[in-house]
Symmetry: C2
Subunit: 403 residues, 2 copies
Amino acid sequence: MPQSFHPPQRMLLGPGPSDVSPRVLEAMARPTIGHLDPQFVAMMDELKSMLQYALRTKNALTLPVSAPGSAGMETAFVNLVEPGDTVIVCQNGVFGGRMKENVERCGATPAMVEDEWGQPVDPQKLEDALKAHPEARTVAFVQAETSTGAESDTRTLVEIAHRHDCLAIVDAVTALGGTPIETDAWGIDAIYSGSQKCLSCTPGLSPVSFSEAAIARIRARTHKVQSWFLDLNLVMGYWGQGAKRAYHHTAPINALYGLHESLVMLQEEGLENAWARHRSNHIALRDGLEAMGLSFIVATDYRLPQLNAVRVPAGVDEAAVRAALLTDYSIEIGAGLGPLAGQIWRIGLMGYASNPRNVYVLLGALESILAAQGYKLTRGDALAAAQAAHAAQTDAPKAAVND
Amino acid sequence: MPQSFHPPQRMLLGPGPSDVSPRVLEAMARPTIGHLDPQFVAMMDELKSMLQYALRTKNALTLPVSAPGSAGMETAFVNLVEPGDTVIVCQNGVFGGRMKENVERCGATPAMVEDEWGQPVDPQKLEDALKAHPEARTVAFVQAETSTGAESDTRTLVEIAHRHDCLAIVDAVTALGGTPIETDAWGIDAIYSGSQKCLSCTPGLSPVSFSEAAIARIRARTHKVQSWFLDLNLVMGYWGQGAKRAYHHTAPINALYGLHESLVMLQEEGLENAWARHRSNHIALRDGLEAMGLSFIVATDYRLPQLNAVRVPAGVDEAAVRAALLTDYSIEIGAGLGPLAGQIWRIGLMGYASNPRNVYVLLGALESILAAQGYKLTRGDALAAAQAAHAAQTDAPKAAVND
């Protein structure tokens, strides 16, 4: 007969899920209450206003979808896209490809703007695509490509989309909490994220937010939203402000406790401090890795602090390195996907996991494993470089709240 | 600044979510690990085989969808229904209506078999509808209508569907774990449930299972499944047996720990014992309520043990009774929906919450509140009747594992 499952204690330094704060885990274990309980409804209002804080928005339609980030993506597409539409999809990694799939399944036509994996989306190519497709009503792109560690310039891309009378859908799954996002100031029309990256919560929820222009489009639809579960016309009835809630589906109560707690922690730390912390630990990691002779696939200007895509050196067995990290150190890092499979490691320093302790442990473990594989390096240089980087950033926060 | 949320300790005796075992809550607070971690993959295999146990099936395609029961319903429809199909939908409550919505959003035509709320689905009406719609390929109905507490005869309805060359989709959200379901023996083609009812887990996951005939239909589809997130062709790649897993979406790791633990508890208790326990506590509750002069809207033969729809007596303010239960006793029961709004209370004794303690507390609280409203009854009769009913069922299990 199966027994209770006791997972190992990992350090999650891959592309996500990332380490979850014990405060969040403890919150999830609190007693379940009903999804229409007045106390739960009050918690929902707090959760919504904390999501608005994290996303820098006043959008009334801001809520966590009751499913992982992929469902958040689908929420954006099935609500904003109608059959026959043309949607400009910018692809520079895995998740742009998934957007294309979403567009097609909505009965719409994707017009692709392709950039190399590891590059940001090229604004000029978007401009050209919009000129070539004056019928397009929507532009979609990923701010922080989890598959490559490259960041695109959301502000510029949204501005171009608007100039061509398009709404802009932005994937912020890996971005939110780790790198600046200004939903309102940049005019983003639809944004979705995930709970399990820089928010330090468990996977399973997808914060989303929609502008007034997006809501107007949803209300003006001529076809019903193809998903009942993700139809925002219905979801809004439950997540609307105040005490009057219409039952739609049973909310994932305890998961929402966890997200609430993670957002309380984000407010305690301060959003700008969280961004600065991700940056400072990234710089320490970068200096350590470069001291080992390793390099990044993304140019400095577009490099995400929370997701480091590192080139696997010639002669090194990348899978063996990941296996040794997991087996000998209980550290998880990620492999490359698609054209980058076998070429890179993806090292995440996301949310609660972005701290000096993890930087030093990872550098020490990676150095040992590479040395055992015969990769030539001087022991200790990486750690010294990371320490120096941390020391040089005198004003930058390094550890999260309660870390 | 928002503070951590500390929910009250409720007794959840409504239509769900129901009380969650402390073992499940504790499991959910264990450390998050990666969704491709070998130890997580091993847990997934166990989880799958325990779901097969709970659903009485050998179906290889048995897994928990990463979202609530409504998404489980949508998974069944978007994968099995194609545009232009006719689907016979049996409606005798809220959830048949939701099935109709799903069918329409798949671009198919629902042919409705209507029964009064509180009645089971009439097999003769299904037979007639199938004769009137020889083009139909699918039949869908709810085994345990959460909105009314009526149970339909799944075995007979599936047999009729098959005789007319249709696949049968069965909603088992409230049924699973509380009342017999024989997925294989009854030939069910697609079944979905929820984690938060008789499985004593938190809301947010939807166990589903599909027969070989259902898989054959999915593979033979001429249109892509309209939902990327719920496309079983893709989900199967992650939930397939063994170590080879293709990344689809990030699984809700900690929620799955909880479901795993709840299924371990179900195996420890034994599925038949769980059914018998739900039955024995239902009988005690029924005798207590009847001693108070209350009555059920569902006839004895079709009455679900886990969901008791009780008529609100004339002159009683039903909302005030629910409010007093919540405020004075921290007990949640449910209101009526649709045509039954204001007419009934829905009292759940589901999963971990189905025990003599809850029966006695609820009867005592309800009796006090009704007396305060001027409803005429003899104090203590209800408790005595429930005690007598429990005492008479000498062989029936009354409490769950670790209760």
